[in-house]
């Protein structure tokens, strides 16, 4: 199972990823933590007009990880994606990708990011090998993903700092 570098506030316990030096809620230095690389989709979009350095269509999702940290990630497509759906996160060279991907998907994904061709090919191969040894080592007994809308209120509540409740 992939782990993701994050940081935790010693004051309020909030976890953010990628790690940052100071808690966005308090002027307090955060401490590094590792969190598991899976979570549920909070929202997603597909850009048909991509910014410089990316090729459309560009699929982006924001995923909430265990403990409440959220990350942005890329994916092969968003057609089958739904809010609340559980996805695996894979990290290659510091870039997060959601969902389980086939080798062909992976190659085409890496080609969408800027970079030298040999480098991208190397990353695609590296990712495929890793994939071979790493398939679905997710913990068993996970709860089923929340229903499309049903989980939203809870997720929002969970991530709310008690001090922030009004």
């Amino acid at each position: 199972m992939e782990t993701i570098a994050a940081s935790r506030c010693p004051n309020c316990g909030w976890v953010v990823a990628p790690p940052v030096r100071i808690c966005p809620r308090h002027p307090v230095e955060m401490v590094p933590v590792e969190i598991s690389g899976y979570g549920s989709v909070l929202s997603y979009t597909t850009l048909t007009v991509a910014p410089e350095g990316f090729k459309p269509p560009l699929h982006i999702a924001v995923v909430e990880l265990p403990g409440g940290a959220r990350i942005f990630c890329h994916g092969k497509e968003t057609r089958a994606l739904r809010i609340g759906r559980r996805v695996a996160i894979e990290q290659v060279d510091g870039i997060f990708y959601f969902a389980s991907l086939g080798i062909a998907d992976r190659v085409s994904l890496f080609w969408k990011r800027r970079g030298a061709a040999p480098e991208r090919t190397r990353e695609a191969v590296k990712s495929s090998i890793k994939r071979f040894f790493d398939v679905y080592k997710r913990p068993s007994g996970e709860t089923t993903p929340p229903a499309e809308n049903g989980g939203r209120a809870n997720e929002e509540e969970k991530n709310q700092d008690p001090a922030e409740k009004r």
């Binding site: 909070l42 979009t45 850009l47 982006i60 990630c73 929002e156 922030e164």
Partner: protein, 374 residues
Amino acid sequence: MRDVWIAAAAMTRFGRRSETLEDLMADAALEALREADRPPDGLVVTAMDPEEFVGAGNFASHIGTYLGLSHVPGLRVETATSSGAAALYAGFALIASGFHNHVLVVGGEKMTHASTPRVSEIISRVIDPHERSYGATMPALAGMVARAALAKGLFTEMDMARVAVKNHAHGARNPYAHFQQPVTLEEVMSSRMIADPLRLMHCCPISDGAAAILLTSDPTGLKLAGMGQGSDYLAIRYRSSLTGFRATQDAAKAAFKMAGFGPERVQVAEIHDAFAPFEILALEDTGLFPPSKATRAMQNGELTLEGRLPVNPSGGLNARGHALAATGLAQVVELVWQLTGRAVGRQVKATVGLAHSIGGMATNNWVTLVEQVA
């Protein structure tokens, strides 16, 4: 704290303009100075990114000198896409505090000479670096917000299109608007997909333009009744909710508290509809409508020029256009024209108006209340 009044308001037409940024700002400023007939003793200047867009620096002095106000103390204010509202706030504070008596606030942006990818790249620098490194642009983040709101059932894709149709219909009656052609529901819903579920006609255009307001401590009858600022995390992934903006909620609370009245007195509103669904979310975040009531009000035609609460009579960012730092001021210019019977072709009946401005992806928002005092 002294009361602050509006002595003059002026703007250029928004759109693809051939003039320089300096000339656009001068056109708006000179008209405001003529109308106010009070020499300013303070100057607040704003442009979101003149360094990148036009290569200008030391911008307050640059514009001060260009306007012939070299010896009027000036400063530049910037809060991303709400910079115009922030500049108005600075002018407001300078007068309320007694530091100055007559302050010229002028904002502008010139972007259409640059390519669209270049403009998008410059604007997207207002986004959190992690999110931006995944190709997140303003439309991408807005698309995620819209997707989350659709899933929650706050509105439908048809409702998003209805906002664009309404605001284009208003823009068609505003000679200062970037787009002065009405559009149909079918045209909006079949326009090119930009950031699923947002289509081209849900998104505001890239506009050039400028606006200026002269504030004064002399009672003019047109009172800047309240202003409020709200802020939020730069990263949208840090927020507890994607479908409402805390920065707007906090700004509205502060503005109404200062004004001493509630949302029920507002009779016309200029809302930051950079993306059509934001209008619906903002109407609830500002308290103008109770939660989940704005969509129905829009469907019933209550937000049109003839409706109970006309929203974006100028056409909003969607049709009047979005010249970044000019926009927050242009919204207040529209309110001034509406409250003083000068909104030719789109006049509504109102004595209290609200303007709402979003900076970045709702990281630094403002609510402004203008009141015509008898």
